[in-house]
Amino acid sequence: MSYSDKVIDHYNNPRNVGSLDKGSADVGTGLVGAPECGDVMKLQIKVNPQTNVIEDAKFKTFGCGSAIASSSLATEWVKGKTVDEALAIKNMDIVKELSLPPVKIHCSVLAEDAIRAAIHDWKKKQETATPAAVQAK
């Protein structure tokens, strides 16, 4: 398997690696994939409650180089976007940007799922009165 330069760059210099406090009311956490499938992505966003703008994003990924690159790129893209704008990111945008081959498309699907799961988690927290009770899955 040969990788595109962009995949290699994200693999060698992954952006926004780390974790945010998943207990915080402003933080949404998405955990998608499964170890048995060889891919698990954790993507977290920190949203400004006034503006709905994603001010910070972090990820950690267990997976191949393309999975790491897809999630690294996803964090770069969601930062600075509003929640609704972030929801408009499609996996094919990631495929295109990273020149992923067909067998790696599922990596981009997982990254889109991770964005959605993180936003879903954040939205759920906004609906509940006691954010501290909400636990990331």
Partner: protein
């Protein structure tokens, strides 16, 4: 017209400590040729180009003599007689010839074949094809260490069993099956025993009589010989084994394998066997030493590293380990100046992790995290240390990136997590 051939370039560079990169440590996939092998092959391309089947001139005689010398050298390495060695294009063909050849020849006697789930695809897919033609195949499971249970084999043999085919050494985990005991069991029951010994011949002592082997597949390119040539050992007495040909034609190789002999390749295989006969004792000690050095260095610095398969019954140059919480392909990407392979799904065309590791009961998660190191004749201590250090630093880096490692360190039981299915 231009006759230039485009080839992928192998960019070579040198590490600060003088080690030439990339380092090849994938010797179960193929081995580099030993220069002594190449040297012996060269005259048979141009100067001594004759057809070994040409009986009426000196060009043919020279070729035939070279082929017969090779046959003797191969026979000597495995304790056979030269008349029992049939040349083929490689071990895949040898496996096909042995299994299909016995199936056809002994159809009257029975239709049952026994093999194991960890066999190479050349054996498994051949058996699967025979199932389509009405043969019955038993796929023996393996134990956690990769070895078959002899009691399972005993129970599986019935009055319709014509063939047992079990590999000598596994290509992924290097595990050595109890070949002599399997052979004895087969002979007690009057069943023919074939062994795919592609990874074993030239690496560990192999003796077709002591190990009760009736048919045995051999490959040149796994033992520092050329690609495209192999052999099948076919027992001639106690018992005499007969096989039907799968390639018909001029009746070469006693009618078992027609086709003009690949004389330079055969000469190369012969030389590779001659070198192995001489050097195997020292070489296997050296390889086991390097392998253990690699294992100890890695395991001394990393936690949650698991060896796949028996350490005791194993090829000297093989190490197959799973690095928990790190996916194999991403690990390969991080050690890109080292050539090894992974059991991860991402490195296969099928998107399924290694069926060999799954058969051991290794969870899919750890199968995705596995790396196979194949240390060979030309690897050095300095290379082993370099590889170990690259692996260690890459695993550490990728674990910092791994949500699974983070969860495990937080005390989360990953088995109890309800993972969202894709």
């Amino acid at each position: 017209m231009s006759t230039e051939v485009k080839t992928a370039t192998l960019a070579q560079h040198t590490a600060p400590n003088g080690i030439k990169l990339p380092i090849y440590m994938d010797n179960h996939a193929t081995t580099p040729m030993d220069p002594r092998v190449l040297e012996e092959m060269l005259p048979y391309f141009m100067e001594k180009f004759g057809n070994a089947a040409s009986r009426n001139h000196s060009f043919g005689w020279a070729a035939e003599e070279a082929v017969e010398t090779a046959r003797e050298r191969i026979a000597k390495l495995v304790g056979a007689t030269s008349k029992e060695i049939i040349f083929t294009s490689g071990a895949t063909e040898s496996d096909n010839l042995a299994i299909k050849g016995v199936a056809e020849m002994y159809r009257e006697k029975g239709n049952h074949i026994i093999t194991a789930v960890t066999e190479h695809k050349a054996v498994l897919d051949t058996c699967k094809r025979l199932e389509k033609y009405g043969y019955r195949v038993t796929y023996l499971p393996v134990q956690k260490d990769g070895l078959i249970d002899l009691d399972d084999l005993k129970r599986a043999i019935d009055d319709k069993t014509i063939l047992v085919t079990i590999m000598a050494a596994n290509n992924e985990i290097g595990v050595l099956q109890p070949i002599a005991e399997i052979g004895r069991l087969c002979h007690e029951k009057g069943v023919i025993f074939h062994s795919d010994a592609t990874q074993a011949v030239g690496k560990v002592p192999t003796d077709v009589n002591k190990q009760n082997i009736d048919l045995m597949s051999i490959s040149a390119h796994k033992m520092y010989g050329p690609k495209g040539v192999g052999a099948l050992y076919v027992r001639r007495k106690n018992p005499r084994v007969q096989i039907a040909a799968i390639i018909d034609g001029g009746g070469h190789e006693r009618g078992m394998r027609s086709g003009t002999l690949n004389v330079p390749g055969i000469v190369g295989l012969g030389k590779a066997c001659a070198i192995a006969s001489e050097e195997m004792p020292q070489e296997s000690c050296k390889l086991a030493g390097l392998r253990n050095r690699l294992r100890d260095r890695i395991m001394g610095r990393l936690d949650e590293v698991y060896i796949n398969g028996s350490m005791e019954h194993r090829l000297p140059g093989n190490l197959n380990i799973s690095f928990a919480y790190v996916e194999g392909e991403s690990l390969l990407m991080g050690i890109n100046d080292v050539a090894v392979s992974s059991g991860s799904a991402c490195t296969s065309a099928t998107l399924e992790p290694s069926y060999v590791l799954k058969a051991l009961g290794t969870g899919d998660d750890l199968a995705h995290s596995s790396i196979r190191f194949g240390i060979g004749r030309f690897n050095t201590e300095a290379e082993v240390d370099y590889v170990a250090d690259r692996v260690i630093e890459t695993v550490q880096r990728l674990r910092e990136l791994s949500p699974l490692y983070e969860m495990a360190k937080e005390g989360v039981d990953l088995k109890s997590v309800k993972w969202a299915a894709e």
